[in-house]
């Protein structure tokens, strides 16, 4: 706390002497919070321990044996879920606060171990035979149940990621562009379908008040999936790219109205950026096609890029002024 500033407030008559004394006392006595420092250290410790153990098991798998490894993972997983079930406050359609600091982390550990366990079982013992889809479907169902029963947004994200893998796409943000072959049209269509379903799930959960706070996670995954899939449709289907561009523009317009209505900066900015990329692609493509004369079309493209970006900056600034609350949603 900045004492001189509060003294100024006192002089200007905004706070009483009693309050000023309170501020001074607080400033002297208030303990420093090391909450995030300790939690970060704890994460680092868990990361070191698990990575080290993983390497040791990997190096000694011949002497340990797969069955021993599987059983110990299963015991760890069961212990985590046992703890969570014992301490859980029970299901509710509303938000349930976690019973203590450790609960969320133990649940997360249990879910990760469950994924490892099922993966290991399938890889080593082929429990699901050749039905690889089942090896993703079963953990996905468990994750969704865990996310809703124990009320954990992180587990919900894991479940959605698994759902997408099951449909045939990895939606984990960083890997979205890198690993998927978006040239394949089946993947584009299924991504668009899944994106729309996720958005509907998000809207539904907020309308029906079924775990309202999960709504953002659904909408966020769905939105990025839908936008990236339709962008790649614009790039991929060269005969119909104008049609796909109209489709994308329609989605952008929908998001724009929703973002303005809900005063959401986040959706406003991502809509603007995706639309900018699509429009830039179409305009530059048209420019390069029309003017084959030397560098002329290249100049025009660069000028277009500058002007459109300036326009978008002005738009974002204007809407930022008309919104006045700060939130990710």
């Amino acid at each position: 706390m900045n004492i001189p500033l509060f003294e100024q407030l006192h002089r200007d008559g905004f706070i009483e002497s009693k309050t000023l004394a309170k501020v001074k006392a607080y400033d002297k006595k208030a303990p420093v919070s090391v909450h995030w420092d300790l939690l970060t250290l704890l994460y680092a410790g868990i990361f070191l321990l698990t990575t080290g153990l993983g390497i040791i098991i990997y190096k000694n798998i011949d002497s340990i044996g797969h069955i021993a490894v599987t059983i110990s993972i299963a015991i760890g997983c069961a212990a985590c879920f046992f703890y969570c079930i014992r301490h859980a406050k029970g299901f509710s359609f509303n938000k349930v606060e976690s019973p203590n600091v450790w609960f969320d982390y133990i649940l997360l550990l249990g879910c990760s171990l469950m994924l490892i366990l099922i993966g290991y079982l399938q890889f080593q013992f082929q429990v699901f035979g050749n039905r690889w889809g089942m090896a993703i479907f079963v953990p996905m169902v468990i994750l969704f149940i865990a996310a809703y029963y124990f009320d954990h947004i992180g587990v919900l994200s894991m479940a959605i990621t698994n759902l997408a893998t099951w449909v045939g796409i990895a939606v984990t943000p960083l890997h979205l562009l890198k690993d998927n072959d978006f040239r394949s049209s089946t993947i584009i269509y299924s991504a668009i379908g899944l994106g729309i379903c996720l958005i509907i799930a998000g809207v539904y959960s907020s309308r029906q008040k079924i775990k309202e706070h999960f709504s953002f996670t659904y909408k966020n995954f769905g939105t990025h999936l839908l936008f990236i899939a339709s962008l790649s449709a614009v790039f991929r289907f060269s005969e119909l790219y104008l049609l796909w561009f109209l489709f994308l523009a329609g989605i952008c317009f929908y998001y724009f109205t929703v973002a303005v209505k809900e005063k959401s900066f986040y959706f406003l900015v991502i809509t603007a950026i995706y639309f900018y990329i699509a429009l830039g692609y179409v305009v530059i493509r048209l420019l390069l096609k029309s003017g084959a004369e030397g560098d002329g079309s290249l100049y025009l493209s660069l000028i277009y890029l500058i002007l459109s970006a300036v326009g978008l900056v002005a738009l974002l600034m204007r809407y930022n002024k008309s919104f006045n609350h700060v939130s990710i949603q």
Binding site: L5, F6, D12, I15, V23, Y26, A30, P31, V32, S33, V34, H35, D37, L38, L42, A44, G45, I46, F47, L48, L49, G54, I55, I56, V101, L108, S112, L115, I116, I118, G119, Q122, W132, P139, M140, I153, G154, L156, S157, T165, T172, P173, D179, N180, S190, F216, F265, V269, I273, L302, L305, A309, L316, M317, N320, F323, V326, S327, I328, Q329
Partner: protein
């Protein structure tokens, strides 16, 4: 010198303090609102996401504009062209700050970085090839970023200016010959110390109020540099790689004992100072630098295999942090585990995303014959394999 109105910056600080006081229930929310109304802030400070969006768009604009000019001039007289671009960027920066009252809007930061890059490249282009590149470049960056740090009271610019100053010293002394090179670690330790005391002295002055954030950045750079300058790994590798000191087998750099002592003692000293003064900057830096020291030690003396060391260190860290969390449930010695502010819905959602990224499925699907949806790999984090 300062581009912003001082009263406005002061009012901004009052807003933050009032909010903090209201959060800790020292003043009422109505009181905080009344205070905010009475001390208006007419700066343009956008929301974080708008800030990121504006920054990305500004990068597009600068790159496209420089590209356009380069094509128009036919890539000749690059120095003049870059100087021109740099000056235009600076003009826009002033326009945004003075005209549109931008304050940390994303646009201003990108423009500052562009000016530094463009003008420094231009200067390098004008100079003959015989001059020492690193000395000139670090000097240019230092001058420009110092000016920006003073004019816009920007934290990142203060960090850049301090780092550039130290690099400039390092490169200039390195050109002076082998005697100077032997003294170099001690000179750098001394300069970092002076930088730290300078920052503390300036911070104690009355007018430094507006540069609070910039001075904090300067302190962090000085503290890191103080450690790095005497770190055994850095001193040894710089001597061998940059200065071509020939170290035969069994030979060591001179005063090796001092640098080992420095590597081990400085992080511990930082943690102790941090705990005594309750300054979290010191403890956090101390813990980070401890990691660096352990890695330095392991680089030369690997006693345990890496995985055993990881398991041991991980177990130790978990036990210590767990008992600290238990111990600090009640505030003790001026520290507490209690959060200083409640998690917002936004940070919870972000945490969820990060968990999805870190623990989620990392395998792309592969087209598999015989499966309906073409899903190939399974959701096993850690046991991931392709089929």
């Amino acid at each position: 010198m300062l581009a912003y109105n001082k009263t406005t910056l002061r009012n901004l600080a009052i807003h933050e303090q009032a909010e903090e006081a209201a959060h800790h229930k020292i003043i009422s929310t109505e009181n905080a609102k009344a205070i905010k109304l009475a001390y208006p802030v007419d700066l343009y400070i956008p929301n974080l996401f708008v800030r990121i969006g504006l920054a990305i768009l500004t990068i597009f604009i600068v790159i496209a504009a420089v590209g356009l000019l380069a094509m128009l001039t036919g890539f000749e007289d690059a120095g003049f062209m870059l100087t021109f671009c740099g000056l235009i960027c600076y003009g826009f920066l002033e326009l945004m700050v003075m005209g549109k009252r931008h304050y940390n809007s994303g646009v201003d930061l990108i423009l500052m970085i562009s000016v530094i890059l463009l003008l420094t490249t231009a200067v390098m282009d004008f100079l003959p090839y015989t001059v020492n590149d690193e000395v000139v470049a670090s000097f240019c960056v230092f001058i420009i970023s110092l000016y920006f740090a003073l004019r816009f009271a920007d934290g990142l610019m203060a960090v850049t200016a301090s780092s550039a100053l130290l690099l400039f010293l390092f490169y200039s002394i390195a050109t002076l010959g082998s005697q100077a090179r032997l003294m170099l670690p001690f000179i750098m330790i001394g300069s970092s110390g002076i930088l730290y005391y300078a920052a503390k002295k300036i911070a104690a002055r009355k007018g430094a109020f507006y540069y609070d954030f910039a001075l904090k950045g300067m302190v962090i750079v000085a503290l890191i540099a103080l450690y790095v300058a005497g770190n055994y790994f850095i001193v040894r590798e710089v001597s061998v790689e940059m200065f071509r000191f020939d170290l035969g087998k069994g030979q060591n750099i001179s005063m090796a004992w001092f640098f080992w002592f420095w590597t081990m003692a400085v992080p511990i000293a930082y943690i102790i100072v941090g705990l005594k003064t309750k300054d979290l900057v010191f403890t956090r830096l101390g813990i980070l630098l401890c990691v660096f020291s352990v890695l330095t030690f392991r680089y030369y003396h690997a006693i345990l295999p890496a995985e055993t060391a990881m398991v041991l260190a991980g177990t130790l860290i978990i036990i210590i942090t767990y008992s600290l969390v238990k111990y600090l449930q009640q505030p003790r010695y001026g520290f507490t585990f209690e959060e200083s502010s409640k998690k917002s819905a936004g940070s919870l959602n972000l945490e969820g995303l990060i968990i999805g990224e870190a623990f989620g499925n990392k395998n792309p699907s592969q087209q598999q014959e015989g499966t309906t949806f073409g899903g190939g790999s399974f959701g096993g984090a850690g046991a991931g394999n392709n089929y």
